[in-house]
């Protein structure tokens, strides 16, 4: 077979331009990149089919090993044993690390991973390295993801016997726009064109819409509206979505998400069983890495077993004289991870509130993701939704990728004579976007959970007499503290006609299209009219590069008091 060699393209630019400018000749592939596992699916003309690797696996481990000169990922690589990925040579949990800066607590928590995560706490990309021939070889999360995606792409091309270019990727709800650009960049490096980045639970919602549509066809019943709550929890992230489904249209009412998952439970239990773990492993020597790996594997096993058993025996010899040998009860595990479960419940409550849906109105509670077997999670979801049982028509491991493949087919313009693809998902914005104004207030322009596409604008004015320029600093988030939101970018508008403060009208508009591209428009209006004084500025966000904390600080230094970091009190009404 002709072997095409794919090399990683330069880390130069994200694919720009219109994302869905025309109909696509090829069917886009759905990829679910998870923190621990990954899968790929495609519409084969009559249904969605999951692609298998050479070892006949549908679910592949997400990691890349830098053992030899050529890095190899979990798609093709045959692990001699589980410990190999814990030898320091493998980078994993990439989805947790991508697009984060070294001040992020998630990055700090990742220091217990067997490879090297170094932080300097200055708000830039953390230093990540794999152990190759006893040397720490540096890499970046984007590069690791790109290498992995290249493997996935090669695998798909061999099986489908065609070039694969367009993909729909599922992403966690909690991802910031900056993280999304990192994912897009990794795809560009792997030669892939992202049609959609779909929040995971909304992909599940699309599959649910298809199933409901199918039921209507089968039973000839009426297509009444059904409301489903989707709870998705994997190793790295937890997402909730509420969808109202009728006639194959999945209308997302609200989403909520957070960076909590199986990884946090694992770390909590590790810390619980080995309280001095952080100091024990801080030096990252070869022996420490080995014991860290041993501990991780045995505790992971224990957690899996606790899903079906009420207690489990943990026996691990860390090699440096310390040993763990004890029984862990399920109650103990649940107690240790109390905060994780509480957070899950808060996410569900928040989502219900944002969607203006009562728990009683939820028709189906859908539970997917790697954590869906944990009894406490099941009880929690059923309890919060006031349901006797969980929706059973879905494979919790495959739901998201199947939804992504459906979306891929729809966005590629594929139509199905049997109406199986007569579907649509109407998405909402997961986070608010706005600008800094009123001193240091974060003023949202498009609120979170607004149906996409969306366009809103607000009028602002100057605070100084004869002020001729204004700085537009764009943030994303829902925190009142402007600094706690993600900085997306900034630009200056000039040519404000000299006037007393409060007189000029500065219009700032935002436009989010269905591909989730954010454009910010700003300009000065002639008072009382709609006519701009000078041409409007149109800026596609985000524009900030790595890190953002110091960008805002630099602006503060340069422009002084107007960038004070003071709290926000007022929020825009919906």
């Amino acid at each position: 077979m002709e072997e095409q060699a794919y090399t990683v393209a330069s880390d130069s630019d994200t694919p720009g331009g219109e994302k869905s400018s025309s109909t696509f000749p090829e069917t886009a592939i759905g990829i679910d990149i998870g923190t621990s596992h990954c899968s790929m699916a495609v519409w084969n003309g009559s249904q969605v089919e999951l692609l298998r690797n050479t070892r006949n696996q549908k679910l592949m481990r997400s990691y890349v090993t830098f053992k030899d000169d050529i890095p190899s990922g979990g798609v093709t690589n045959q692990l001699s044993q589980e410990y190999e990925i814990l030898s320091g040579a493998a980078i994993f949990n990439i989805v947790r690390l991508i697009g984060r800066v070294d001040t992020d607590p998630i990055v700090h928590a990742s220091k217990t991973l067997p490879f090297l995560v170094q932080t300097l706490d200055i708000g830039v990309r953390p230093f990540i390295a794999a152990l190759v021939n006893n040397t720490w070889r540096s890499t970046t999360p984007e590069e690791v993801l790109a290498i992995y995606l290249v493997e996935l792409r090669t695998m798909a091309e061999i099986q489908l016997k065609r070039v694969v270019r367009n993909v729909v990727l599922t992403i966690p709800v909690a991802f910031s726009r900056f993280q999304l650009t990192r994912v897009e960049r990794a795809c560009a490096m792997a030669g892939l064109h992202v049609l959609r980045l779909m929040p995971e639970p909304t992909a599940v919602a699309l599959l649910y819409a298809q199933q409901q549509q199918q039921n209507v066809h089968d039973n000839m019943g009426s297509g009444s509206e059904k409301i489903a709550l989707i709870f998705n929890m994997g190793a790295g992230y937890c997402d909730v979505a509420i969808t109202a489904t009728a006639g194959g249209v999945s209308q997302i009412k609200a989403v909520s998400g957070s960076t909590i998952g199986g990884e946090d439970m694992l770390q909590n239990l590790m810390h619980h069983l080995l309280p001095n773990m952080d100091s024990l492993f801080s030096s990252h020597g070869v022996n420490e890495i080995k014991s860290m790996g041993l501990l991780r594997v045995s505790i992971q096993d224990a957690i899996h077993k606790l899903s079906s058993e009420t207690s489990v025996q943990v026996d691990v010899d860390l090699g440096n004289g310390s040993k763990i040998s004890r029984v862990v009860q399920r109650e103990e595990f649940e107690e240790v991870n109390k905060n994780v479960f509480e957070k899950c419940e808060i996410l569900i409550q928040q989502c219900l509130k944002d969607a203006k849906v009562e728990a009683e109105d939820v028709d189906d509670a859908i539970l997917v993701g790697g954590c869906s077997n944990i009894p406490r999670i099941r009880n929690l979801v059923m309890g919060t939704c006031k349901k006797e049982r969980i929706y059973t028509e879905m494979n919790p491991w495959e739901a998201a990728v199947v939804g992504a493949a459906l979306e891929g087919a729809i966005a590629s313009g594929v139509s199905d004579p049997f109406g199986t693809l007569d579907l649509l998902t109407i998405q909402v914005t997961p986070l608010s976007v706005g600008i800094r104004a009123d001193g240091n207030t974060f003023v949202p322009i498009i609120n979170r959970n607004t149906t996409m596409p969306s366009r809103k604008d607000l009028i602002f004015t100057t605070v100084h007499d004869n002020q001729t320029e204004a700085l537009i600093v764009v943030y994303e988030g829902d925190e009142q503290l402007v600094e706690k939101n993600h900085l997306l970018g900034y630009f200056k508008i000039t040519g404000i006609p000299p006037a007393p403060k409060g007189v000029p009208e500065i219009n700032v508009g935002m436009d989010i299209d269905t591909s989730n591209v954010l454009r910010v428009f700003a300009g000065v209006l002639v008072p009382g009219t709609q006519n701009p004084v000078t041409p409007f500025m149109e800026v596609r966000m985000p524009t900030v590069e790595d890190g953002h904390g110091w960008c805002a600080e630099a602006l503060l230094r340069k422009y002084g008091s107007s960038l004070d970091l003071i709290m926000v009190q007022k929020k825009m009404q919906q």
Binding site: G247, S454, Q467, A470, E505, D513, R519, F536, Q573
Partner: protein, 306 residues
Amino acid sequence: MVSGVSIHRIIAPTHFQHQHFHPPNPTSRRWKQKSTSGIRCCKKVEERLRTEKNYYKLLGVSVDSTNKEIKEAYRKLQKKYHPDIAGQKGHEYTLVLNEAYKVLMREDLRREYDASIGQLRFSFGRNIPDLGFSTWNGPFRPQALFVDENACIGCRECVHNASNTFMMDEALGCARVKVQYGDDDTKIEVSVDSCPVNCIHWVEKEELQVLELLIRPQPKQGHGIFGQGWERPKNVFMAAKAFNKQQKHEGMHHQRNGNNSHRIRSSTTGEEETPAQAEARASASIKLQMEKFSGIWSWVNEFLRH
């Protein structure tokens, strides 16, 4: 150059405000023009906007449609125009569609919107058929059926011929339209022709609501035990004409006031409207409408006395 380059917000956003910036896509100019000015902006274009940018027309639903109907229409249109299906050219359309949906699905926003386009909506009449308002089977048609209950002798001929369209009000002893076009056209024709007193009329769709409102018997003010009871206009068609005239007059009046108040608002206040204020304003406008109603009733009574 000034040192402080920060700016602050002066005007709260409303759902009526629209983009002032240039849309990214040149093909969108058509929509942009339609929505360059909002209700708040008290411009001459307002009149034009009312006819062009009508959310009800956009969604293809009637002004008295229920949330369920709006939802269905919205989903149907989304399936046609959503950029996932129609490509980037669907962007501008879907933006307006989302806006329309949001406004019409929220009772407070919808009321405000209705008031702004001079629309009178008898939402209470939809769900309670006993109040005498007919519902529609299938799409709207320009003509509707109306029974002049003053003339009806309660012979039940029409109910017999088209039982899905007409019903008998046993309390009043006269027939009434239950569902417009509830039966097929021949049945309806037969029933209209069968009326011995010719009290079943074909009326314009627009007139129907007012006629059905006015034909409802109203409690009559009495003196002691004398004069109490129920009454309705003797000539409901004349009453409806006068009602509409009054309505139009009130509407113009309201609009003028509205414009004035908007002008004052936007020029003097820099504060955003709180939800509580919005609610208060919405309920105030409802009250105003209600008062309008009672005014009309006293006027109708006047009319009858003469």
